[in-house]
Amino acid sequence: MKFNLLIFIKDEYRSCSTNLKIGISLFFFIILIGLFAPFLTSFDPLYQDYDSLLLPPSFEHLFGTDNYGRDVFTRVVYATRLDLEIGFYTTYVPLIYGVMIGAYSGYFGGFIDTIMMRITDTAMAFPFLILIIFILSILGPGIQNIYISVFLVAWTMYARLVRAEMLVEKNKDYIMAAQVLGYGSNRIIFKHAMPNIITSSIIFSMFDFVLNILLVSGLSFLGLGVQPPQPEWGAMVAEGRDFILDAWWITTLPGMFIVITGFALCLIGDGLSERFGKRNQYTVSV
């Protein structure tokens, strides 16, 4: 039986739930907006036009203009790039080493496990945002420092998650069978255990993605994140709140984009958990 990509995609498409389909198409749409930003608008996101301050939405300015005369739609579209980039890095870089640390400490146990788990306990004892703000207040605001602080803290969640799954999985027969065949522990961890334990982390990463976008937006809102001229959803919401009664579009429309992105990612997370869950149930019950 040869592997047929077309049939594979068809099968996958059929077994996906509606949630997943809607979520993926919404998210794909947002990525497209980010990719084709220069083609969607003719304005410069940083250009200040003092002849058109605080204009309400019209055909020329779809989302209106802000207090410096910048086109809000252009800024929202360009901010998509930055927000998705930050969300992606702050989610998937910690996932990689968090999963690795969790898998190793779950599989080997003992001294390393104890040290790693005490570190995660300490990190999880504080609220995530407080810890990030604390590190940022030492390093100073900026995108680079957001990366550093999130990389320092965010892996603990994944390490915990994967370690718990690994503890269950490592006592199963097929792991012992792999040991009997003389495989090394790296091979057992990454080739045999990993496909079984990573699903929950992937599902969680979808929700984490949303939380991280909200985190960056929140930090920018507080003035600790992206610095003023650069367009960023959270920062734009923060800038517009002085004019919320006169010019509602400056805060509301970027906020709507945050909501849509979060919505799409949550749908994907839900759909994936259903999809993986089904597959897991299926193999276990046989």
């Binding site: 039986m1 592997f3 146990g109 003992g110 199963k172 027969d173 097929y174 012992m176 069978a177 792999a178 040991q179 009997v180 065949l181 003389g182 495989y183 090394g184 080739k191 045999h192 496909p195 079984n196 299926y282 193999t283 276990v284 046989v286």
Partner: protein, 328 residues
Amino acid sequence: MSNNNTVLSINNLSVNFKVNESKIFANNNISLKLNKGEILGIVGESGSGKTVLCKSVIKLLSTPPAEYIEGQIIYNNKDILSLSDSDLREIRKNEIAMIFQNPMSSFNPVRTVGSQIIENLYYKNKLTRIEIKNLCLDLLTKVEIPNPELRYNEYPHQWSGGMLQRAAIAMAIRNSPKILLADEPTTALDVTIQSQILALLLNIQKKNNMSMIFISHDLAVVSQVCDRIAVMYAGKLLEIAKTKDLFNNPKHPYTRGLLEAIPRIGKETKKLKTIPGDLPNMSEKQTNCIFRSRCQRPSLDCKEGSIEMGLIEIYPEHWVDQCCVNCG
């Protein structure tokens, strides 16, 4: 006692498990020899330490709960229990293989059966993809899987238990190991498949002249398959003999009880014979006869507790626990 024919000898092995401050004495002073090309059966009721013994042979028990208290397992003039991890892996790869009880759970559910079989072929020899695949198909044909080409890309849940056990056997024999440990390989299968798997195992064993340790609690299976049989009870060996001797002339009261408990076809019995009592508490170290509480006619020496446990050879190659030789 030792000769050139011996492939594996277990000397005075004791294994404990530490559970919440208390200890479970799973194996106590076990000594065994495995000869070349021989099938050694280990029988005993559940919880008598058969599997622990089998796993100890390749040091598979994870050592925080388990402790190897004393004893050696000599293979190739080396003590397996004191080998380094990398040496141990070499032995597991090439010399000693194992088949598990439940074939359904001994395969990784998220990977195809074919990929799991070729993985360890890749590992051993540096061959090209096509050569490896052909080797794998050869192996699958050897264990009598129909349509290996088609079956190759399927997942474990698409295979039946018997087929998976065949695939497990294929993986175990791929490097023609010297010793095969079969830990109740047919318990999870139904009777017709069971006989097929047994025939296959015997066939392969004869062809490769492997030694085999065959664990089971099914006396009928053991009597068909094995050359010698060891009877285990509460972590101790009670009797070792050739299959014929053990079935015709059981010396230990426990063995006798086991044999009497088998229902016979054609003989009408109102009630099956049983051995009264329960297994002794394994968290207490027993120095005297462990079978005394269930023995129906214990000998005088046993009652007084003047004899320690230990095997003696009463006939050629028929070893029985010395305490119980004289028991009724």
